[in-house]
Symmetry: C2
Amino acid sequence: MHTSSIFLETLHHRRQRLAELIDFPAILWSGGSSSRNFPANVFPFRPSSHFLYFGGIPLQNAAIRLESGKLQLFIDDPNPSSTLWHGETPTREEIAANIGADDARPIAELEDYLENAATIPVQDAATSTEQSLLLHRWLLPQQPPQGIDLELAKAIVSLRLTHDAAALVELRKAVAVSVEAHKAGMVVTSTAKLEAEVRAAMEAVIIGYNMTTAYASIVTVHGEFLHNNHYYHSLEPGDLLLADVGAETETGWAADITRTWPVSGKFSSTQRDIYDIVLAAHDACFEKIAPGVEYGEIHLIAATVITEGLVDLGILQGKPEDLVKMDLHALFFPHGIGHLLGLDVHDMEDLGDLAGYEEGRKRSDRFGLSYLRLNRPLRAGMLVTIEPGFYQVPGILNDPKIRDQYEYLINWERLEQFADVRGIRIEDDVLVTESGSEVLTAALPNQANNIEDLLKLPK
Amino acid sequence: MHTSSIFLETLHHRRQRLAELIDFPAILWSGGSSSRNFPANVFPFRPSSHFLYFGGIPLQNAAIRLESGKLQLFIDDPNPSSTLWHGETPTREEIAANIGADDARPIAELEDYLENAATIPVQDAATSTEQSLLLHRWLLPQQPPQGIDLELAKAIVSLRLTHDAAALVELRKAVAVSVEAHKAGMVVTSTAKLEAEVRAAMEAVIIGYNMTTAYASIVTVHGEFLHNNHYYHSLEPGDLLLADVGAETETGWAADITRTWPVSGKFSSTQRDIYDIVLAAHDACFEKIAPGVEYGEIHLIAATVITEGLVDLGILQGKPEDLVKMDLHALFFPHGIGHLLGLDVHDMEDLGDLAGYEEGRKRSDRFGLSYLRLNRPLRAGMLVTIEPGFYQVPGILNDPKIRDQYEYLINWERLEQFADVRGIRIEDDVLVTESGSEVLTAALPNQANNIEDLLKLPK
Ligand SMILES: [Mn+2]
Ligand SMILES: [Mn+2]
């Protein structure tokens, strides 16, 4: 249990800041667990991130009401049989003291405190239905907020966009464990036969620290399929293994790290050529990050560096800046340069683009920009990922329309020489500071040589 | 992908048998994934077990319609962007061929095939709502089935109660991996400092075989709390560590194994005394298992052996058979001796007691029997767990009413000498055979000496 004064001050400060932004009460539900194959066999409970931000600890079937800087906690006392089977569970009063609540009541009394209240729907259907019934309006997790709910969402976004000291302590913990997980993955590669075994070594580190994965791990020799959550492929000496794995602390704060390494322990010269281009894009982005800089520009820097590199290698033909305008980079780098990171791995994505996009901006129609998840000027205290990549996605590069359209801009024969580079991504977590930026994930090497050194360590 | 003729014959045979039991069509939905903290961040998808039984493979957002032994598959073809991001995904026709479907259609066409159809609600709310809307009746996962849905449920129960050869192949795989996981947990204990680290070593084995845990692992030095899913306690030399961890194969078949071992590597004499009683109960149950035997009697055998043992140790005072009638065993063994095991760790518990209880039987009101999950005569092909235990649950033993009621039957001073035995459980998976039984989990030692030997192995 957190009971430090810093923790209590942080929660107090967060709700004070919320009170400065809205003049109506906010009720945030924590949510309940979701069943897997039968009601009692549930997935691990994960509270709503908005609840965690203001409530601080993972409480199940609870709600907090925030008004004028005051916190009311609504939760039922553990029933006697629950104590019998689950062990000591704190009482309502103990929990209330732990999170500095001004008042604490059974959940049933929430109905007396609903007037004018705004909320944000949680993900589990039982709770969002409850929210809808109590507040007499449809609150669906997939629907954009309206009215005061939208006002609340905007207020929360403005707070959660930048991280306070207590959040950063947690985020650094998630990063430290994720770094160790990646190192374990690299070290086990020399003896592993399947993707699943590398995943196991990585997730074991996370589980061993009593954390969970913040998202479904990607551990694959087919990094060209961006959302590949299968782990059954065998590891062959010529393969690159792409691992996108991040831990989440007990109170919900996430890390998000990707590394790509050669199964054999050594990059081939073609793999190394492309790897160094992706790393150059990564470094160029990182150098540029500072308050006031548009994140969209960071994306274009990555696009430009990747395009230049591919021109230098003879894969693309033309002037890099022209090629970027034609979205040629997006054939090989078909996603955004990154996203916000915090309590969610794509922070506040439950609110659609409300957090990621500056007010008044919308997603671009351009293939090269539509996947951008973050489009705002950077501010000190924001945590973003920088994750350039290079992928040979068959569905893109074998598309006859695309091959036709870009016939003379791509040297297809030259490209074929890079057949052993199916997918590379390098992803770090970067904190925007007053003076520029800090790479929180710096303890995990990203240079090809250093990665080769890690791969040599005995298991 | 399974395409073996045995697999196809098995699925064919299962639906033929279903056709012999019902004369109306059955539609089984696979379900969709549940969101964690934002819509795109989902828990690992787990299809409905009933779907898996007849459909064979984990398909998302699919339905199968079974009538007169014929299988119609309803699923959408992967959309082009899905292929782009997820890699090769089989087409509807390929899937249909893989599972031996007689017909395959887009999911939208299901509405033309609903007449008179029975179903079983899946766990995720989006799908169960869809089921309700399509079939024009409330289909809620927590509600007992009615009408033809109840008839379907009973027919499925009668099939799934005993396992065919293909099921047993999968169940044995789940057991083998779980056995290896337990051994890994024992071996890591000498160097682990936290429960979480032992859990990590165990689950890493499961993940490494590309399986998942069939249920939330219990790995705890506080085994006296039966549903303890925390892993933050440190391991102290005098502790017993209780690990209830089981794997689930890719097609959903589960294992369920518990072992209890001393953190120090050696049982204390008090721990050993109680351990041997629990093991004696386990062995006595196992010896009795055979077709025709009432599972409730197996439970009473365990209760009797445990009570006898506690009388011998001087903890209980009285005639064992009298004490069992007074439910005294249940103070220390407050759960049933086991349950059905199959596609669900508590097999078919989504149907309430329909599978566990012989028609016409209901849960007992007696404290010592109400937790019994299975109350039927055993049949060859049934897979059950045998999991006797001994626990000093503070909420039971410190209850003034109970202390008062049993004042002269328990030697409280003697009991205090066993303070280092908070929780012990030994759980094996036992197949009922024509001639008696087979312990599928026999490769994992359960004798105290053998466990001590495993604990000595180098990490
Ligand atoms: Mn990312
Ligand atoms: Mn069990």
